[in-house]
């Protein structure tokens, strides 16, 4: 019920009724932009919006999306560092290497 899907607003179709054409996964559908309408409707063209039951409900914030992805990437990098540290600890904990390559 609460499912929403990202769609790109491609053109304003009826400025009076605040309707626009959205491209959702290659399917075009007229949606209401009443909830996200700025003063100049043309500013919406090209924006990605979360579409729910025929309404653009929220403009997707590209900066915030990037920040979230950055945090996820950071997790991977931190993990690599932690793993490297653990490997280092493990290596140090091993009994001293006495064998000498001959």
């Amino acid at each position: 019920m609460c499912l929403g899907i990202p769609g790109q607003i491609v053109e304003i179709t009826d400025a009076d009724r605040l309707m626009a054409m959205a491209d959702v996964s290659g399917v075009r559908r007229e949606v209401s932009v009443a909830c996200v309408a700025p003063a100049a409707l043309s500013d919406l063209v090209g924006e990605w919006a979360l579409i729910h039951v025929g309404f653009a409900m929220s403009i997707i914030d590209a900066d915030e999306a990037e920040k979230t992805l950055e945090a996820l990437r950071g997790l991977g990098e931190a993990q690599e560092t932690l793993e490297a540290m653990a490997q280092g600890d493990a290596a140090l904990a091993e009994s001293p290497v006495t064998e000498v390559m001959s």
Binding site: M1, G4, R17, L50, S58, T68, A71, L72, L75
Partner: protein, 381 residues
């Protein structure tokens, strides 16, 4: 599709899963003594099962599936009222497809349609408005169903009908709100909850502050989450870190869609058209104060309850549930779907007895669709 694939990256998922495992170990949670995290939203329940996140995450995490599926919490009496309206000869009854198979005491909307009622499945309330424009001699009634995510769409449709003076359009309002049942669950002494994954699309409308009471008054963490697998895993990690650190905060993982203060245009439309009912009945949870919305007097002409004298205010309400149905216990986390005696025998997605088996967002339907085969395997082992 933009902002979808990025949040389905399997390599990144492995990193988050490792981090989750570490925090679960730090907390000391185990299969016997798990951390209980409720995902409130039915869309999240569906995603958890669809992507197998319940199986990928460590044993120390137990997901409790919350009441956030509007079709599932709708009492049978409301379906009966839908059927009553839909069977009137002058009515075209427009509904989201999800509601078609929910059983009423007499019949479902699907059965009513088979019996000749003019019931149309639509994608949007705007489609119902268009039906009203094209059929001026008929009464078009839209089944207004859903949480705060969907409420603005019917509010704006009613406002539009009022502007156009469309006298043959009305809404049968069953809109409900997320915070009141969460409070009811937190007040339930039998409910064990350590934290919440908060609903993403409800929050894009109402913002994150309506959940402040969860952190401030009940000292539970809540993280508003998106719907892709990485969104959910990252949110679970954020909840676990709060638990580990002894924090209780409202955090927002889904900031790309959810502004802190929600959507002011949507909130204004809801407040213009709707007001809270003193009380509203939830399937499995009973009556919850101020949890449902009704159409304000100023828009009475667009209120199907007024127009057809059905529903609240039309007489004493009979509360009935199908015999042997344990939806209420599943919905409050007391039992798992598999523990319901009707699961998979007396109640299946094809022949649902309880509402949780109907919607793809219902916990039982999700179990049935995505984990039935695994459970059979497990039982055989």
């Amino acid at each position: 599709m933009r902002y979808v694939e990025e949040f389905r990256d399997p390599v990144a998922a492995q990193d988050v899963l490792r981090a989750i495992k570490d925090v679960v170990t730090e907390i000391g949670a185990t299969k016997e003594k798990p951390v209980h995290i409720m995902e409130i939203c039915g869309g999240h329940t569906h995603a958890i099962f669809r992507y197998g996140l319940d199986r990928l995450t460590p044993d120390g995490i137990e997901f409790i599936h919350g009441p956030g599926c509007p079709v599932c919490v709708l009492p049978m009496s409301r379906i009966d009222e839908c059927v009553e309206i839909a069977e009137r000869s002058e009515v075209i009854f427009a509904t989201f497809g999800d509601a078609m198979r929910v059983p009423g005491t007499r019949k479902s909307l699907m059965q009513a349609k088979a019996d000749g009622a003019d019931i149309r499945m639509v994608y949007s309330p705007l489609d119902a408005l268009e039906l009203a424009r094209r059929n001026p001699e008929r009464e078009v009634v839209f089944f207004g169903l859903g949480f705060e995510t969907t409420t603005p769409s019917t509010a704006l449709s009613i406002q539009q009908a009022a502007r156009e003076k469309l006298g043959n359009f009305s809404v049968f309002c069953n809109h409900i709100r997320v915070p009141p049942p969460i409070k009811a669950l937190l007040d339930d002494p039998y409910m064990i909850l350590d934290g919440f994954v908060g609903p993403g699309h409800v929050s894009m409308v109402i913002g994150t502050h309506p959940y402040d009471f969860i952190a401030d008054d009940y000292c539970k963490p809540i993280v508003v989450a998106g719907f892709e697998p990485l969104d959910l895993l990252q949110s679970v990690l954020m909840v676990l870190r709060q638990i580990r650190d002894g924090r209780a905060e409202v955090e927002n993982q889904y900031a790309r869609v959810v502004p802190e203060h929600g959507n002011p245009i949507s909130i204004a439309a809801i407040e213009d058209v709707y007001e809270p009912r003193p009380t509203f009945e939830w399937r499995g949870l009973g009556e919850i104060d101020a949890s449902g919305l009704r159409i304000r007097h100023a828009y009475q002409a667009y209120d199907a309850e007024e127009k057809f004298s059905v529903g609240y205010g039309a007489g004493p309400r009979l509360v009935t549930e199908p015999e042997g149905c344990a939806c209420g216990q599943v919905m409050t986390g007391r039992i798992k779907p598999l523990q319901c005696p009707q699961y998979g025998t007396g109640c299946t997605p094809e022949m649902p007895l309880g509402a949780l088996m109907v919607s793809s967002e219902g916990a039982c339907a999700a179990y049935y669709q995505y984990s039935a085969a695994d459970d059979v395997l497990e039982a055989a082992e």
